[in-house]
């Protein structure tokens, strides 16, 4: 149980969870809220997870569910404007196209994808999960994940080409 103390779990997973959350949501604040809410769920319900080797998948699945729940809430109140401040900051930091893509550019490009492709693409590039695990996290069939990755990569490429254009 020591390896799964709350602090150990946070240390091991909060960075990739944040990257995933930032790719899904529209601001750092929203991403932070998603990660916090995910760890709160872990603190209150994590003991129900019998297979302790699946902590990572559990956390990513939970974060994705929280995101979907948040989005549904936002859909109920369309008058609530989400912040785009972080997006502007990220766009200003876009590097020259011939160099390594920076995190801000990638996150911005991911955010501009349709939500259908955003989550599988983010999980794919986080490289923490196999495509089978991605299917489990998103709770969709493996074939659906494969097709969304394939289509999502094409769309993401277009987004990056636009951003890298002078």
């Amino acid at each position: 149980m020591d390896a799964l103390t709350f602090e150990n779990v946070v240390n091991a997973h909060y960075e990739p969870l944040y990257r995933f959350a930032l790719s899904l949501s529209r601001s750092e604040a929203d991403a932070g809220d998603l990660v916090q809410q995910t760890f709160y769920r872990w603190a209150t319900k994590g003991d129900q997870l019998r297979d302790r080797s699946k902590v990572k998948s559990w956390l990513f699945t939970t974060l994705h569910r929280e995101f979907l729940a948040t989005r549904r809430q936002a859909d109920k109140f369309p008058g609530t404007e989400l912040s785009t401040e972080d997006g502007r900051e990220l766009a200003a930091q876009t590097p020259p196209p011939e160099r390594q893509l920076d995190g801000a550019t990638v996150v911005e490009a991911l955010r501009e994808l349709d939500e259908t492709f955003r989550a599988p693409m983010a999980l794919f590039y986080l490289e923490d999960h196999s495509y089978r695990e991605i299917a489990g996290i998103l709770e969709v069939p493996i074939g659906t994940v494969m097709s969304r990755i394939s289509r999502g990569k094409e769309l993401l490429r277009k987004q990056l080409v636009k951003k890298e254009a002078p």
Binding site: G103, A104, Y125, H129
Partner: protein, 277 residues
């Protein structure tokens, strides 16, 4: 597998990644060796993938976020289940039944332990005889007043009237009192010099402490260590009268003929006398 099918599959392949060795990709990867155009496309794809993944890895979570998560956890201290909550929360009906059996066994065990902790009236009698006869500290204070004597006995049930033999009724012949503990229970003692002669100590304590208290309100006479005793139970109290004289004089305490020429003034005294007859 044609080129389009291979492209579709290879889009999801990350060399050296978590899908390495997955047979799902084997056939598509084999196509790369025989299709240079596909191989070129795949190399370009891999280059882009590396750039994107590298970019995403650059993203760092704000350090304050981790601190906030840990602080929130410590402050709120979410409901970490007690061991029994965790245990019972996962148990089936069989588990619950098992738990009920365990609790029942514990209950019975506690009951018998409690019953076993009760002492024997015989042991008590032997100890009280020794106290009456041999203890140099015989009484706490001398008094001829029954109310003083009752107060001096410090019995929890001190509000109850004592069930005294007719010859001791009203505190006749009372000379002193004492209070002490025996096996954690209050014991009160009254010392009498009855008109019938002799020296009698009366010990009173709760009958609950005994596994074998005197069975009724009629005196049972027994000799302990050479001393005649009379014991009875009334109103939840166990009485033990110890005669220092060792003779038949103790029985005379219940004799109505000895009530200073008066008739017995209570039905109980008469009944006791009849019982003795």
């Amino acid at each position: 597998m044609n080129r389009d099918e291979a492209r579709m599959i290879l889009q999801a392949y990350r060399p050296g990644g978590r899908d390495e060795g997955d047979p799902y990709f084997a056939e598509a990867l084999a196509c790369l060796k025989s299709d240079p155009e596909l191989a070129a496309w795949f190399a370009e794809q891999q280059s882009l993938d590396v750039r994107i993944a590298g970019g995403l890895q650059q993203v760092r979570a704000p350090s304050r976020l981790k601190a906030e998560i840990l602080a929130q956890h410590k402050a709120a201290e979410p409901p970490v289940p007690h061991w029994w909550q965790a245990w019972f929360g996962r148990q089936s009906a069989t588990g619950w039944a098992f738990a009920v059996v365990i609790l029942a066994v514990l209950g019975v065990s506690l009951f018998w332990n409690h019953a076993g902790s009760r002492t024997s009236f015989q042991d008590y009698s032997a100890q009280m005889v020794n106290t009456a006869v041999n203890d140099p500290h015989h009484v706490d204070r001398g008094t001829s007043s029954l109310s003083d004597g009752l107060a001096g006995m410090s019995l929890p049930s001190g509000q109850n009237p004592l069930a005294l033999p007719p010859q001791l009724a009203g505190g006749k012949g009372l000379t002193g009192c004492r209070a002490f503990f025996w096996h954690g229970q209050n014991v009160g003692m009254l010392c009498f010099r009855p008109q019938t002669g002799g020296h009698v100590d009366l010990f009173v304590t709760s009958a609950v402490m005994f596994a074998d208290p005197p069975p009724g309100d009629q005196p049972a006479f027994t000799v302990y260590s050479g001393s005649m005793t009379a014991s009875w139970t009334q109103n939840g109290e166990a009485y033990l009268a110890v005669s220092h004289d060792g003779g038949e004089g103790l029985k005379e305490l219940w004799s109505p003929e000895k009530l200073s020429g008066k008739k017995a003034n209570s039905g109980r005294a008469v009944n006791l006398a009849l019982a003795l007859d």
